[in-house]
Structure formats: structure tokens, C-alpha cells
Amino acid sequence: MPIPETLKKKAEEIVFRYPEEKRQSALIPLLFEVQRELGWITPEAEEWVVETCGSTSVKVREIITFYSMMRAEPCGKFLIQFCQNIACCLTGGEEIQHHIEEKLGIHPGETTKDGMFTLKCVECLGGCSWGPMMVVNEDQYFQLTVDKVDRIINGIKAGEPVLPDNPTPLLGNVSGERTA
């Protein structure tokens, strides 16, 4: 697969953020863009990143294997990152996780046969006051219930995705509305 022009343009912008002799700093943002564009980091793209950042194959490999969001193999069209950390577990996250597993017929780490969904259980996603939470591709969803998860997944299947919770809803006194 050749490197798309859009990606090459993006690479120029990313490399420009760092002093000229520090191009290796562009590695993580650039690999991130690669998988955003291509869905995963293909061997060809990996090689291209090595050249673009003036790095070495082994250093790029090191990055890909160290950072948990990096994908060196294809995944489903929709990647569900489901939070399994304390705050989400305290608010019923495990039940909802099991519901997703049953609904999609897959376990964490697996992809549905039609290639639509991959389920990944991840550590804290920083939505603790709004738990349980998950991120589907780049969309964040908070205060999950079985019903809400059904609507999100059914919406994706029907091509009418549920709007993500952007921005994060205001809870607590920071909204200036709630009273003690």
C-alpha cells in the first residue's frame, strides 16, 4: 500500500514541530497519524516512518511494541476501548463489559467475524466521574448503561452513529449551577 499524499502532508507538519536535528521526536505523533489514516501500522508505513524521522528500524519497533495504543496488525473498523479501571468498575463497568461481549459474540482482544468491531479492555481513560466509559475509535461515551451501549452499537451497525459525549458533560460545582 503506497503512502497516501494526505499522510505525507501531515508528516511535514508534524516534523516541523521539532528542531531540525531532533526529528526523532516526531516518531510517536507520526506513527499515530499512520494508524489513524491506514487503520494500522503496515510494514511499508513503518519503513517510511523510519526514513521520515531519520530513525532506525529497531527504534521504531521499540516504540510500536512499548505503547499500548500502537497497532502493528489490522483491527476492526470500530475499535471499542472499554475502561476496566477502579472507578468504572465501582459503577458497574464489569456488567456492561460482559454485555458488550455477549452482544458482539467476542472476548476482549477479539474482532467480530464481519470485521466491524474489535473490543479492547483498557486501563483508566480519565473519565472517572462519568464512569463507566469507553472510547469508540475517536469518540468518547460516558455514563454507560446497557441501554446506552445497545444504542451506540446498533447505531454504528445501522450507519447512524449516536453522537459522542463531546464535550464531557459538566458534573460537580464547576458548571456553576449545582448547589450544595
Binding site: 483508566c124 473519565g127 459522542p164 460545582n173 464547576v174 448547589t179
Partner: protein
């Protein structure tokens, strides 16, 4: 002011419609403090921040102005790195700043950069924060367009660029030297100390200030109300307010901006609406999952500031308060907690890399009902062998809570043992 009569400093514009766009932000006073700072001498700005008692809200609670003061006199170029890696379990306040008022953060980062005469600012945001990153990146573009970043900012003769940089899923990159390694395009292995602060040797070996998102967002407010007033709002040695992330079994979880030193039980009962479903409080994790757990008894009369929580044998950390009711099994909580560290240990130091995995396997036995009594002591021993024997604080971050769960709730572990 919020509805409950608390003066809001950094969250006061969170609910303003389109606050993330620069025109709205400027109507609400954005960049006025940068303009003022640019008319002062850099060291005067640092002094104001020092006098205000502002402390790092990322976890360590170090004096922000003092940190800025560590920059060596004659070494250039210098950098500022915004730590937006927010990944300490329980912590969810920086995301609101990034999404709701990114210009406040940018202004604070630029004031910091001016105070230490840095030429570049990098905003490092964790990879999972797609939406917060999008909003902040757009705000950076707007700041350039209005001349608040770039060459000769507001005709002051000082130039500074500001750039976005994302992580890709690694808790360890919240540790400031791990973050710098990550910024340099490497795995986020924390650096050996000393030097204890990257102020002298930081990004690419140059003087660097690494400050948390919330900390920097406070800087324009410190400038606005003055050091004395800011210092007076908190408790002794703890200036101003804090964003407390309240989660778990309360009726009203959320992010609360309250003065430093607000009593823990006020946060839970008065603000959080008490324990949900009429249950009783069992325990509280007061400062992110790395802090020692507190029993319900220990939560009484506890002001939430760095010294008071430390005096009670725990830490305020990132002010992430997780509330646990009587229905929760502490061995199960232990398993959730340890699973995180086993996943996130970076693998650099043997005690942590191996120890976290052993702890995970043992904690699973308590959940599965196959544990023996000696497993309790083994877990304590493993935790003790990690504690203080690693390059970074992540070792202690797993050892401390582990030990505290085992000691304070030993009876619960014993109750699920087979023999």
C-alpha cells in the same frame, strides 16, 4: 461564584458557551494576564507565582514558582512542556480544562515560558484524549492567529512557539522524565535521578519546565487576583483552590473546584450528596489509585491539602477522590488496582516489572477463592520489595496502596482464604 458560594478560579468559565473559541475567551478576559506579564521582568513573574503558594496539581505538590526558579542562569534554549498525560486512576479534571477552556491553559503555559525565557512550549496530551486534543490544537492555532504565540509576541521582543504532541498509551509518561523520553521519540522509561528536576537537564538535555495542565491553568488566575489573595484562599502552605475529581459511590460524582484544605467529608457529603443508595462508607482512596487507602474512620476531620493528607499516612496526589461503599470487597478492589500497575509497569526496573505481575497473580487468587493465608504475607513482602527500590515513583505507587489494603483490611483477605 458557583451555586454553593465557592469562588471558582479556573473553572469559572467552563459553562460559557463556545469558551474554547478565542473571541469568546477574550471577551471573558483571556490573555489579559499574558499582556500584563510581558510588561514585567521574567523573574518578577516567577516571584508572584512563588509567593502565591501555587503547588503542582499533577501529584507531587511541589511549589510551582520554586520549580521555575531552578532554571540555570546561562543555559539556552529552554523549553516548557505541559503535562497533559492525565492517567492516574481517579483523575479526570485536566480533560475539562482542555475541552472547556483551552485558552486558559495556553495563556498559563505562555506566561510560564516568558518567566523562564523559553522559546518553545510543547503540549503533551495522552493519546486516548482525542476530543480534548482536537479542541486544544484548534485553540493553539487561534492563539497564533491573534499574535499571542510566534515571533515577537505583542511587540515584547520575546518569541515563543507552541506545539502539540501526543502520547500513545502509557501511564509511565505522566512521570516527568518518562514524558521527556517519550517526547524525544523513545519509550517512556523514566530517567535516573539526580538531577531531580528537569529544570537543568530536560528535553534534549536542555533546561525544561514540566508542569501539569491544571497547575499552568492556575497561573493567569494567580496573576489576576494577586499572590496574596490566592495564598489566602487555601490552607497554610497550600495556595488557592483545586479541582477535586470525585468518583465512585457518591450521589453526585463530578469535578469540584474547592479551596485547598476542604474537609474530605464535606466533599463527599455536602458536595457529593453522600453515599448513594443509602449505603455506608467503607473506604476512600484520597489521591488517585497510588495513594494509601483510608478507612471510613480515618476520613473524619481530614482537610484535603498536601500536608494534612500526608499526616494521615496517605497523599493528596492529584486530588482524585474515589469513594467506596460497604458493598465492595477490598480483595476485589486490590485486584482492579494491581491489574492497572501490572499493565502499566514500564519494565525498566526488575522489582516493579516482576513484582507487579506476581501481585496480579496473587490478587487473582483472592478473587477466585483459591488464596491461602500465606499469600497475604507474600503480597506484603513483594510490595515491600518494590517500595523504594525503583528508578521512578511508580514502584511506590503500587507498593503503598497494596500494603495499605493488606494492613487496614487484613480481615477481608483472611475471610476469603481457604486455609
Amino acid at each position: 461564584m458557583s451555586g454553593n458560594g465557592t469562588a471558582l478560579l479556573i473553572s469559572r468559565n467552563f459553562a460559557v458557551d463556545k469558551m474554547a473559541s478565542i473571541d469568546v475567551a477574550m471577551k471573558n478576559g483571556a490573555y489579559e494576564q499574558l499582556k500584563r506579564a510581558l510588561k514585567m521582568k521574567p523573574e518578577e513573574v516567577t516571584q508572584v507565582v512563588k509567593d502565591s503558594g501555587l503547588r503542582g496539581h499533577g501529584g507531587a505538590g511541589f511549589s510551582t514558582g520554586t520549580k521555575w526558579g531552578f532554571i540555570p542562569k546561562d543555559k539556552f534554549p529552554r523549553y516548557v512542556t505541559v503535562n497533559g498525560d492525565e492517567s492516574e486512576p481517579g483523575t479526570c479534571k485536566d480533560r475539562l480544562i482542555l475541552e472547556r477552556d483551552p485558552h486558559l491553559l495556553i495563556e498559563g503555559a505562555l506566561i510560564c515560558a516568558y518567566a523562564v525565557q523559553a522559546e518553545r512550549v510543547y503540549v503533551y496530551i495522552r493519546g486516548e484524549y482525542f476530543y480534548p486534543t482536537k479542541v486544544t490544537a484548534n485553540a493553539v492555532k487561534e492563539a497564533y492567529a491573534k499574535g499571542f504565540a510566534g515571533q515577537n509576541i505583542l511587540n515584547s521582543g520575546w518569541s515563543c512557539s507552541i506545539h502539540m504532541h501526543n502520547g500513545a498509551g502509557a501511564y509511565i509518561c505522566g512521570e516527568e522524565t518518562g514524558l521527556l523520553e517519550s517526547m524525544e521519540g523513545k519509550k517512556g522509561w523514566p530517567r535516573l535521578k539526580p538531577p531531580f528536576y528537569p529544570a537543568a537537564i530536560g528535553l534534549w538535555g536542555q533546561p525544561t519546565i514540566v508542569n501539569n495542565v491544571e497547575t499552568l491553568a492556575f497561573v493567569p488566575r494567580v496573576m489576576e487576583i494577586g499572590a496574596e489573595k490566592f495564598a489566602g484562599m487555601g490552607s497554610p502552605k497550600n495556595g488557592g483552590t483545586a479541582l477535586y475529581s470525585l468518583s465512585g459511590h457518591v450521589n453526585r460524582p463530578g469535578v469540584y473546584e474547592l479551596p485547598m484544605g476542604t474537609p474530605l467529608m464535606d466533599l463527599i457529603e455536602k458536595f457529593g450528596g453522600g453515599i448513594r443508595n443509602g449505603k455506608n462508607l467503607k473506604a476512600v482512596i484520597p489521591g488517585g489509585s497510588s495513594s494509601h487507602i483510608l478507612t471510613a474512620e480515618e476520613c473524619k476531620d481530614l482537610p484535603l491539602d498536601f500536608e494534612s493528607v500526608a499526616a494521615r499516612g496517605s497523599m493528596l496526589g492529584s486530588a482524585a477522590v474515589m469513594v467506596i461503599d460497604e458493598t465492595v470487597s477490598i480483595p476485589k478492589l486490590m485486584h482492579w488496582m494491581v491489574r492497572f500497575y501490572a499493565h502499566e509497569s514500564c519494565g525498566q526496573c526488575t522489582p516493579c516489572r516482576e513484582g507487579c505481575d506476581w501481585l496480579l497473580r496473587l490478587s487473582k487468587k483472592f478473587v477466585d477463592g483459591t488464596a491461602r493465608k500465606r499469600d497475604i504475607d507474600d503480597m506484603w513482602e513483594i510490595a515491600d520489595n518494590i517500595d523504594g527500590k525503583t528508578i521512578c515513583a511508580l514502584g511506590a505507587a503500587v507498593a503503598w496502596p497494596t500494603k495499605s489494603y493488606l494492613v487496614k483490611f487484613r480481615h477481608e483477605f483472611e475471610a476469603v482464604c481457604k486455609n
